[in-house]
């Protein structure tokens, strides 16, 4: 245990932390924007597109993320027709390859989270919306999608934390993120314990903050599902499964 290793290399670790944070937040935003329409297509079982998206989510959810990163980074570099095309402007950069891999990966998981929420929407809420004279479009934009998104918060918070942890493999394609910086110190000073413990603490703090934010979101958006909520008290078990 030699904490001077960590203290002497604070700038390196901060750089790593910064890379981790913007890589992950950008992937999450892009993945979220991708996942919403894909989930709706899956929910409405749009022919052909539904099967294609199923294939996409199946592939990205059933193969290890490290393979996806290797395929996108080293895999694409093998083909001269890719290297000679406009795609190479993007694929040449390790950071953008990592961003693509993380975005597609989180989009696949998030699509299935949203689709599941949409599919398990309670019928009586839709019936109530239609009874109010809403069109399908209105019922979806006002009731079904907001409600599904609210109910997706708990599984989505897991996905965010998983993606944060997965980002540690970005160093496999020369992106020095937080874990990569710790690995560098580990091989430079031959001390695995101090740097890895230090970055573990940083991950702990990030996850603590994330959990707190999601707790607040749940309190704000999901309290109506809580058994202590006044509306459910009045309704008894009517509104809840």
């Amino acid at each position: 245990m030699n904490f001077s290793i960590v203290i002497d290399n604070i700038p390196l670790l901060l750089d790593g932390l910064w890379v981790t944070l913007h890589l992950i937040s950008l992937s999450l935003v892009l993945g979220f924007m991708l996942a919403l329409p894909l989930a709706l297509i899956r929910h409405f079982k749009v022919p052909v597109a539904n099967q294609l998206i199923w294939g996409f989510t199946y592939f990205f959810r059933s193969t290890p993320l490290i393979l996806q990163i290797y395929l996108i980074y080293y895999g694409t570099g093998q083909f001269s027709w890719i290297r000679d095309s406009w795609m190479w402007v993007i694929l040449e950069k390790a950071y953008l390859c990592g961003l693509i891999a993380f975005t597609l990966n989180t989009a696949a998981y998030t699509t299935e989270i949203f689709r599941n929420a949409l599919d398990t929407m309670r019928k009586n809420e839709i019936e109530a919306a239609i009874a109010f004279g809403m069109s399908t479009w209105k019922a979806y934009t006002r009731i079904v999608i907001p409600n599904s998104l609210r109910r997706s918060i708990p599984p989505y918070s897991n996905e965010v934390i998983f993606l944060l942890h997965s980002s540690s493999i970005a160093s496999a394609i020369t992106i020095t993120e937080l874990t990569g910086a710790a690995r560098y110190l580990y091989s430079k000073y031959y001390d695995p314990f101090t740097p890895f413990l230090a970055v573990s603490l940083v991950y702990l703090v990030i996850v603590f903050l994330l959990t707190y934010i999601f707790k607040l979101l749940e309190r704000r958006f999901l309290s109506y599902l809580s058994i202590n909520h006044e509306s459910t008290k009045k309704l008894g078990d009517f509104g809840n499964p």
Binding site: Y74, G77, Q78, R83, E92, A94, S171, A172, T174, T176, R183, Y184, Y186, S187, K188, Y190, D191, P192
Partner: protein, 260 residues
């Protein structure tokens, strides 16, 4: 109580004595550094250093087992007692000597830059000529230290294995790769993948950066093992067995440590 402590000390002393007779040696290697140590198509560890290690074990009449370990953890895993010896083209440097003990060197090679044949590196390989270039190196190597300290203005990308650095050289994500010259020629330049590439610039051998050669690494507490390995290496050098192994891999290049 005192008696008990004495007894315990006697036991531990006896135990440590018996532990010093090396009958079994666990060897750690990388397995991704052709032709020195790599995994063949059957998934077996092979290469010059694997042959050398086997000959060494036969010479010392000990049984050896091999353990593959990612390069950047190769010294930490030794310290964590995952194996007893590193035989993995580990350069003997003052920096590493602070942490581990080395056997006598058993081979030596220069380091060189590799570029695409058509690459216009007209300014040579001095730091000032490469400020606009990106150099690929392997993580936690003497080559990386040298490049990171001396080519501060160039782009530097560090790879987990040297094979990945060559993949990116082919893919043009890096302009040059700096690496052990024999590893580069046999692992890349002499293969179909490397036909459009060649060496550029001089051979880098400054002991300040690259050490005095390649040695076997052991823990500082295992001085007896270092002596044993030295004995074995000397024997393999004097009976010609090491030369035979080296010649079978590099018929045209001398990698032997010259006698001074």
């Amino acid at each position: 109580m005192k008696k008990f402590v004495l007894l315990a000390m006697a036991f531990s002393f006896a135990f440590s004595l018996s532990a010093k007779e090396w009958k079994k040696i666990r060897i750690g290697t990388e397995g991704a550094y052709p032709p020195f140590n790599f995994v063949d198509k059957d998934g077996k560890l092979v290469g010059l250093e694997i042959d050398f290690a086997k000959a060494l074990c036969a010479e010392l009449k000990v049984t050896c087992t091999f353990h593959a370990q990612d390069w950047d953890g190769i010294i930490p895993a030794l310290l964590a007692k995952k194996y007893d010896v590193i035989i993995a083209s580990l350069s003997i440097t003052d920096d590493r000597k602070k942490t581990i003990e080395f056997s006598m060197p058993y081979y030596t090679t220069p380091n060189r830059f590799v570029v695409h044949k058509t690459s216009p590196c007209g300014l040579g390989t001095e730091p000032n000529g490469l400020t606009t270039k990106t150099i690929g190196v392997q993580k936690a190597t003497v080559s990386e230290n040298f490049i990171v300290e001396n080519y501060k203005k160039s782009g530097i990308k560090s790879y987990v294995t040297i094979e990945e650095a060559f993949l990116d050289l082919k893919a043009k994500r890096v302009d040059l790769v700096f690496n052990d010259a024999l590893s580069s020629s046999n692992g890349f330049l002499n293969t179909p993948a490397g036909k459009d590439f060649n060496f550029i610039g001089k051979e880098y051998t400054d002991p300040k950066w690259f050490g005095i050669g390649i040695g076997a690494g052991v823990r500082k507490s295992d001085k007896d093992l270092k002596k044993l390995l030295d004995k074995g290496i000397k024997a393999l050098y004097s009976n010609g067995k090491f030369k035979k192994i080296a010649d079978s891999y590099f018929p045209n290049t001398d990698i032997m440590i010259s006698k001074k």
